[in-house]
């Protein structure tokens, strides 16, 4: 069991390509940390640096108390599950599982015990003598997990292990990995580009973009208090609506206006919005926070025309248009909205996020940090 610490870690490739910039991240012991971000954000590179498959250009990387910058992958006490499974195609499942242990000269009875145990946990007992090509995608994925389990490493590294599976199998394997984490009580570092995977699996999530760590925190914190526009747009599905508005102050009243809407500014944000008077502020509203129904005095409302309705069972995802602005709302399907309907949507002003358009930083979180 171990912590993983990135201390001002940089990764530069030849030329001036910077994959990871000044990464500072403390991964706690027994934590399930998810590294999430769009392709090319540096999440896989960070994971591969922990594994020792990429060299650290600058900074210090520690596993436990040990600096591992120059340590060979095999000496780091980590195991990795790859997106493509990376099974040894000419070996049986049993040999795939025991390969790493044999190389480490683990005694035979101990190898057998660990293989049997992993096979039991992952339900691979009947497949031990098969070759990888005789297995389905889900079974191969379980063998890849098993190969990591038998090693009993201090840190499990997983690089998008579910992205080659179909939706149903993905949900099953997700639960299986979580159970595995509880059972093994070991540090897991999990890379994905899928924010739903990140939200459902991570005890903490680290969001990366363009080589920079944006925010680290428990899923709920990222959802409720995204630190900037990127995190706000990345976490949550469907993605947050962004409306660009101009801040103005007249007669002591602070307001946000755009061509199509006018919003009052809640008291807690008065000061910060007033400071941006004359500038653009991006307002962020989560689709699930928009409500159908009568507006009460003082509420902000959006008036928009329904474009497309996606029926999801108990909810409907409504695509609306108001002038140039496109908005998505998630409402109870009993409302039975039809394309062409003009809707009045109530905006719960307390749950609205506001971002400085220049820096992308959240005004809401800034207030929170100050408080």
């Amino acid at each position: 069991m171990a912590t993983v610490t990135f201390d001002h870690v940089w990764k530069r490739y030849s030329g001036d390509v910077v994959a990871v910039q000044d990464l500072n991240l403390d991964i706690r012991d027994e934590e399930f940390l998810v590294l999430v971000g769009p392709s090319g954000c540096g999440k896989t590179t960070s994971l591969r640096m922990i594994a020792g498959l990429e060299e650290v250009t600058d900074g210090t990387l520690k596993i436990g108390e040990r600096v591992v910058n120059d340590l060979a992958p095999k000496d780091r006490d980590v195991a990795m599950v790859f997106q493509s499974y990376a099974l040894y195609p000419h070996m049986s499942v049993r040999d795939n599982l025991s390969f790493g242990l044999k190389l480490r000269k683990v005694p035979k009875p101990e190898i057998e015990r660990r293989v049997q145990e992993a096979a039991k946990i992952l339900d691979l007992g009947a497949l031990l003598d098969r070759k990888p090509k005789q297995l389905s995608g889900g079974q191969r994925q379980r063998v890849a997990l098993g190969r990591a389990i038998v090693r009993e490493p201090a840190v499990f590294l997983m690089d998008e292990p579910l992205s080659n599976l179909d939706a149903k199998l993905r949900a099953q394997t997700r639960a299986q990995i979580l159970r595995l984490h509880q059972r093994l009580a070991t540090t897991f570092v999990y890379v994905t580009h899928d924010q739903i995977e990140a939200m459902t699996m991570g005890s903490r999530i680290a969001v990366m973009s363009a080589g920079l760590l944006q925010q680290v925190g428990p899923p709920q914190e990222l959802y409720d208090h995204p630190i900037n526009k990127f995190v706000a747009g990345f976490i949550g599905s469907p993605a947050m609506n962004f409306i660009e508005m101009t801040a103005s102050r007249s007669d002591g009243k602070v307001q946000l206006t755009s061509q199509d809407f006018t919003f009052p500014v809640p008291d807690r944000l008065r000061e910060s919005v007033a400071a941006l008077s004359g500038n653009t502020v991006t307002v962020g509203i989560r689709p699930e926070h928009l409500e159908l129904g009568e507006a009460k005095p003082g509420d902000a409302t959006l008036r928009a025309t329904t474009d497309v309705v996606e029926y999801l069972g108990d909810e409907e995802q409504i695509h609306l248009r108001a002038g140039e602005t496109e908005i998505i709302a998630l409402v109870n399907s009993s409302a039975r909205v039809r394309p062409g309907d003009v809707l009045e949507l109530r905006v719960p002003i307390d749950r609205v996020h506001m971002f400085d358009d220049q820096s992308g930083l959240s005004l809401t979180s800034r207030e929170l940090a100050a408080a």
Partner: protein
Amino acid sequence: MTSVAAARPAARSYAGAFRRRLGTLPKHVVVIGLMVLWLVPTIGLFVNSFRPAAAVQSSGWWTFLIHPSQLTLSNYRYVLAQGGLLPAFVNSLFITIPATIIPLFVAAFAAYAFAWMKFPAKNVLFVAVVGLLVVPLQTTFIPILQLYGTFGLNGQFLALWLAHTGYGLPFAVYLLRNFMGSLPSEVFESAEIDGASPVTAFFRLALPMSVPAIAALAIFQFLFVWNDLLVALIYVGATNPDNAPLTVILANLVSSLGSGWWYLAAAAFIAMSVPLAVFFALQRYFVRGIVSGSVKG
């Protein structure tokens, strides 16, 4: 009603299939015709190798259909006993097997290093090795003969093993590197984390996973060495006829028995038997091997 309705499409599909067959018929006739045309000389030679000298000189090979009792093994008996073919056959095996295994083994090591290991000037070295493909082997004879003379290797089997290793390596390294390079990198990374050294990764992973490419190369190299006359003649044939392979003996048969070519026919078929056996044993790798490494995935 229903049966009629069901029968109609069936009848139509039979007619359709027949028409399709008819459409491909000319193509098949042409292909089969070409194949027969191509094979006739070989078949003629094969039949003649079983006919006595008198019959070969007086009538065409196809007359064996009328007089099948003519067929005899005497030509084979002659070349094996008096022609010196049997020791040459053994020599050929003794030359070809090591001259196939050594370059393949060396090339596999080099290919793995070029594909997966990091070292300075890797690409320059690889280009240099592959660049050797364009050097005609004839230009190497004099310097190598001088070198062999210095070390007393002329006429030895070792001379041929080394020469064929050198001549075979550039292509073998090129093909195997491309094949090994297309193996998934995650497998080697996974092995590295599992604790495998480069040597372990080579023997336990790269080599077994490259079997199709290695088998294809083995065929190429085996056929090249087995059928080689020039290299054998230069390094062995002239100085030590006792170590000469089949091809050298065959060439001598032509000159000394220029008129007795029925013996040559028998000898040629003895020489062909081994490459044919190798080809048929490994042919499923052969087709796969030609494309191997050229297309990723």
